[in-house]
């Protein structure tokens, strides 16, 4: 029992470490090799977890090996466009200049239903509004609307839009994030003053607080539970 628990802990920490080192990718946005490695690593770690007769090293060695190969492959594909094309494929233009490219649709095994479903996910219901739809190598669909259907930018409208900069979290569930406070050029005295100004006496009363580069503050007080 104890052995199983220790083995689970070791494999869990190793898996977390490997996936963390492989990069911050969301599930479903994995490239082919990342998906393969993820599946293999998950599978490899499950076997010695269930059978304590199999040495843990039988899982750890392949995990390290896969991690190293994935690392090497990512370096090689970064430097070679041709290799990248061979391994990951190339983006497919499913809609090109407003027309569905049926050859590409067949090549990517994409049905019109799947295409409209993907477009609906991006709040697009009319195919006439799409100029380009590109199936990326990670499986996501990038869509470019025809010029009349694109959102007008502030520049196009001739409106001035001052930048509010990056928003930094200052307090999270009553805890002051000192590093963030320093990064945005503020100190605890400013924080205390700001809280007093908004009618709060203690950071512990705050659930969430942010400040942007323009100095605009957002405060969500803690609710009574």
């Amino acid at each position: 029992m104890m052995i199983l628990m220790i083995r689970t802990l070791i494999l869990f920490v190793s898996l977390l470490l490997f996936f963390r080192l492989l990069g911050k990718r969301q599930l479903g946005e994995l490239e082919l090799s990342e998906l393969t490695v993820s599946m293999l690593i998950a599978d490899i770690s499950a076997i010695p977890l269930q059978d304590i007769g199999i040495p843990l090293i039988n899982a750890l060695v392949p995990m390290v090996m896969l991690f190293a190969l994935e690392l090497l492959l990512s370096v090689l594909t970064e430097s070679s466009v041709r290799l990248r094309g061979i391994l990951w494929g190339r983006p497919c233009f499913l809609i090109e200049q407003g027309r569905i490219n049926q050859r590409e649709m067949r090549r990517c095994h994409f049905t019109p239903d799947e295409l409209t479903q993907e477009l609906r996910r991006q709040s697009i219901v009319d195919l006439n509004t799409v100029e380009y739809a590109i199936l990326e190598t990670d499986g996501t669909l990038s869509v470019l609307l025809t010029p009349p259907n694109q959102s007008a930018t502030a520049a196009q409208l001739g409106v001035e839009s001052p930048s509010v900069g990056y928003t930094t979290t200052i307090i999270e569930q009553g805890r002051i994030l000192g590093d963030n406070l320093r990064k945005c050029g503020r100190d605890r005295r400013w924080l205390q003053r700001e809280l007093h100004r908004q009618g709060y006496g203690n950071p512990k009363e705050i659930y969430f607080m942010t400040v942007n580069a323009a100095g605009q503050v957002y405060i969500a007080p803690k609710e009574d539970t």
Binding site: P55, I57, M65, A68, L71, L72, S74, V75
Partner: protein, 126 residues
């Protein structure tokens, strides 16, 4: 460059670990097989004291490598190999040469199989 270096270092370390493991398993199984063969030979020649000493040294060698065997080898294989060694010891201590031979051969077979399992070959890879 840093990532390439990390990947290469990891692969090199794994390679080195693999080679070390092969040497370790070779040294262990060759040592054990030598002791077992000596023990059987001594039993056949009627020298039971030397046979006992040889089988005891095989078991000492096996027990001394317990940590290595349990980390690197399948536990079921390790247990079977240990069983055959203890059976041989029992036969040698009983002073029965025929029984020692019939217990020694499976022990030798088991250890040789342990060794070949760790060596990369068409059969072991596929």
């Amino acid at each position: 460059m840093k990532r390439t270096l990390i990947a290469l270092v990891l692969l090199l370390l794994l390679g080195a670990l693999g080679i070390w493991n092969l040497r370790q398993v070779d040294a262990l199984t060759n040592g054990l097989c030598g002791c077992i063969e000596l023990s059987i030979r001594c039993m056949e020649e009627g020298d039971s004291a030397a046979a006992k000493a040889a089988v005891d040294s095989a078991l000492t060698l096996w027990e001394r490598q317990e940590r290595y065997t349990h980390i690197f080898l399948r536990h079921s294989e390790v247990d079977s190999a240990a069983d055959t060694l203890y059976e041989l010891q029992e036969a040698v201590y009983a002073g029965d040469a025929a029984q020692a031979l019939s217990a020694g051969n499976p022990a030798l077979y088991h250890l040789r199989s342990l060794q070949s399992m760790e060596h990369p070959a068409w059969g072991s890879v596929f």
